[in-house]
């Protein structure tokens, strides 16, 4: 009797106990998933490659090695002696430096596209779903209309009319990337809207936008993050496809898609390394993102509470 009393007093008097948030639980689950952690390590390595690459590359990405020009198939093959670790491209430029540059651009495109989609799409969908009724109808019909336009066509038109530039590429990708996210966020918001804690907040007199930011968005975020990690690779694929068509980033800038395109054009000349190096980075990054996305989905699954 007295023992329990003293224990209770100890508990009551002690400093606040740190709780385990759902985020902390999800983090623990994520790090138990081997494939996801491997994917994360690959992604970190690719990101490190993009950031550190320029400082360790012996050649600049714009300089042409005149010694190998004209004899790329022999002198331009990957070797440690010449400093062309990944070989050179058809113009005698160092492929290592070019791949670093391509990685930077492709990751940038993927991450900017995903960010636009997360910020715009989530807010748009949450607002439409929360207010419902006519507002929801109008907002989602706008999304439907934008979705019905073949975006590849719009993207190509944009790049042709306003000239090919990195900025235009971001604009084009930003225009389309948020649509799916808005739909997902709206659907999730509709299920959250029926929760009693939303009603409690409304009954207390919390403002609608505060409810959206405080109650709806944090509960949406699990789904949104999973979708965003799967969106990054698809953005990279779009960009690569556009660049493969010759409409993407412009020389001297490059991206994985452009490098793969260049490499594929030289495939018959016995310089296969021009294709394999950018392709290797492209593929491992996509796999990395898919594994991480998969791991996040398992970790953040609301049914697992």
């Amino acid at each position: 009797m007295f023992a329990t009393k003293s224990v209770a007093d100890d508990l009551a008097g002690s400093a606040p106990i740190k709780g385990r948030s759902l985020w902390a639980d999800a983090r623990a689950r994520f790090f138990r998933n081997r494939a996801a952690v491997a994917g994360l390590i690959v992604l970190i390595a690719v990101a490190a490659f993009a950031v550190i690459g320029p400082f360790i590359a012996p050649w600049n990405n714009e300089d042409i090695d005149w010694n190998v020009l004209g004899n790329v198939a022999e002198g331009g093959r990957p070797s440690l002696e010449t400093g062309h670790w990944f070989g050179t491209d058809a113009l005698g430029r160092d492929l290592f430096a070019r791949t670093v540059q391509g990685t930077q651009i492709s990751l940038l495109v993927g991450i900017v596209g995903a960010l636009i989609s997360v910020i715009v799409g989530t807010l748009y969908g949450a607002v439409a779903g929360y207010f419902g009724g006519r507002i929801d109808n109008v907002m989602m019909r706008i999304v439907d209309v934008l979705m019905s336009i073949p975006y590849m066509f719009v993207l190509i038109l944009l790049l042709v009319v306003f000239g090919r530039s990195l900025f235009m590429l971001f604009v084009g990708i930003g225009l389309i990337s948020w649509l799916d996210m808005a739909r997902i966020a709206r659907g999730q918001t509709l299920t959250l809207k029926g929760k009693a804690y939303i009603e409690a907040a409304r009954a207390t007199g919390v403002r609608p936008f505060t409810i959206i930011l405080r109650h709806i968005i944090p509960n949406l975020l699990g789904v949104v993050i999973v979708y965003a990690t799967l969106l990054v690779p698809s953005m990279i694929i779009y960009e690569s496809f556009i660049s493969f068509l010759g409409l993407g980033v412009q020389e001297p800038l490059t991206s994985w898609g452009a490098l793969i395109n260049d490499g594929a054009a030289e495939m018959t000349n016995g310089t296969l390394w021009m294709l394999t190096w950018p392709l290797f980075f492209f593929v491992i990054t996509l796999f990395g993102f898919f594994f991480v996305g998969d791991g996040l989905r398992d970790a953040l699954d609301p049914k697992d509470r």
Partner: protein, 329 residues
């Protein structure tokens, strides 16, 4: 105290239910969730609201709290019509009327700590409070509802159902409201925990002078806590009286059936007593029966019951019943 705290006059709530696969411009079905309900609640008193599922208890509560639009009638708070308030006055009014929900876990945001959940009404209505003041108030309130203040940084999923309901009560009481609407606060809990929560509510009512509106489908719980009980059937209040009077002297046939359905914890007595069991299901609120809505299941229904909806008549001692044939056996 002078005058009633809350007065509900002829309140009706109607929902639009669209036809399946209809055009957007076709007239939707009307679902009468609450029809012409009137309620009077004095400060510091408890009104129990009973009725089976779908009888409109929760809708009536939500109309009073203001999360469901009122289609007709008035809700008067200390004589002021809530429908006349503009958006900001209405938000400020939220401080006086709080709500406790049925499913305790569903009522707490899983991404927020208990401290944040309990503090939310405070941050809404008293934004000038310093962080330290908020922390002290939250700690004091948690202690008052029987939770360790050291648990403020825990998340809802780390608590049991009864504890979650205490958190919900702490959130409802932190702004020192005058009315707390409890929508089946104990239905989702174990019987032993039910008693704890009901007693907690009673203690808090005594300490803080709260008025309670207590919704349940379990008459024995309602009888324990209420001063006055109203019985609802298909959106109508069919009988209302003081708690003891209603239980010992039920007049409406539906109330009698409800009371007869409360089990007696003694098999012998249970078998010995007559039990008028209601036949059939609750009619659809989209197409309620004409006249008295209870006539389709009523053991004493007469031909004239189909003609007009019976008004609530006073039998004296504030005992109102909506059945002209209540004197018959």
């Amino acid at each position: 105290m002078s005058g009633p705290l809350l007065q509900v006059q002829d309140l009706s709530v109607t929902f639009d239910v669209a036809h399946r696969g209809s055009w957007p411009w076709t007239e939707p079905h009307k679902l009468q969730a609450v029809k012409q309900a009137s309620i009077l609640l004095e400060p510091g008193r408890t009104l129990g609201l009973v009725g089976e599922s779908g009888s409109g208890k929760s809708t009536l509560a939500r109309a009073i709290v203001g999360t469901v639009p009122v289609s007709a009638g008035r809700v008067l708070w200390r004589g002021a019509d809530i429908a006349q308030m503009d958006a900001s006055e209405r938000r400020a009014h939220g401080r006086h009327v709080q709500m406790v929900f049925q499913d305790p876990l569903d009522a707490l945001n899983p991404r927020m700590t208990v401290g944040q959940i309990v503090a939310e009404p405070l941050l809404t209505h008293m934004p000038d409070l310093s962080k330290a003041q908020v922390r002290t108030k939250v700690g004091a309130m948690m202690e008052r509802v029987g939770l360790l203040p050291a648990l403020v940084n825990r998340y809802p999923h780390e608590f049991s159902g009864g504890q979650c309901q205490r958190i919900g009560i702490a959130r409802a009481l932190i702004t020192e409201p005058e009315l707390v609407v409890c929508d089946e606060p104990v239905s989702a809990l174990d019987v032993s925990v039910q008693a704890q929560v009901v007693n907690l509510l009673q203690d808090l009512q005594r300490e803080m002078g709260l008025a309670l509106m207590f919704i349940a489908h379990d008459l024995s719980v309602v009888r324990h806590i209420s001063h006055r009980i109203a019985v609802m059937y298909l959106g109508r209040i069919v009988e209302t009286a003081g708690a003891a009077e209603l239980i010992t002297n039920p007049r409406h046939p539906y109330t009698r059936a409800l009371i007869a359905s409360v089990p007696i914890p003694s098999p012998k007595a249970e078998r010995a007593r007559p039990r008028p069991v209601l036949q059939g299901e609750l009619p659809s609120p989209m197409a309620p029966p004409s006249g008295c809505v209870f006539r389709t299941r009523c053991p004493i229904a007469q031909p004239d019951c189909a003609e007009a909806s019976p008004p609530l008549t006073d039998l004296g001692q504030d005992h109102l019943v909506a059945c002209p044939h209540h004197a018959e056996p």
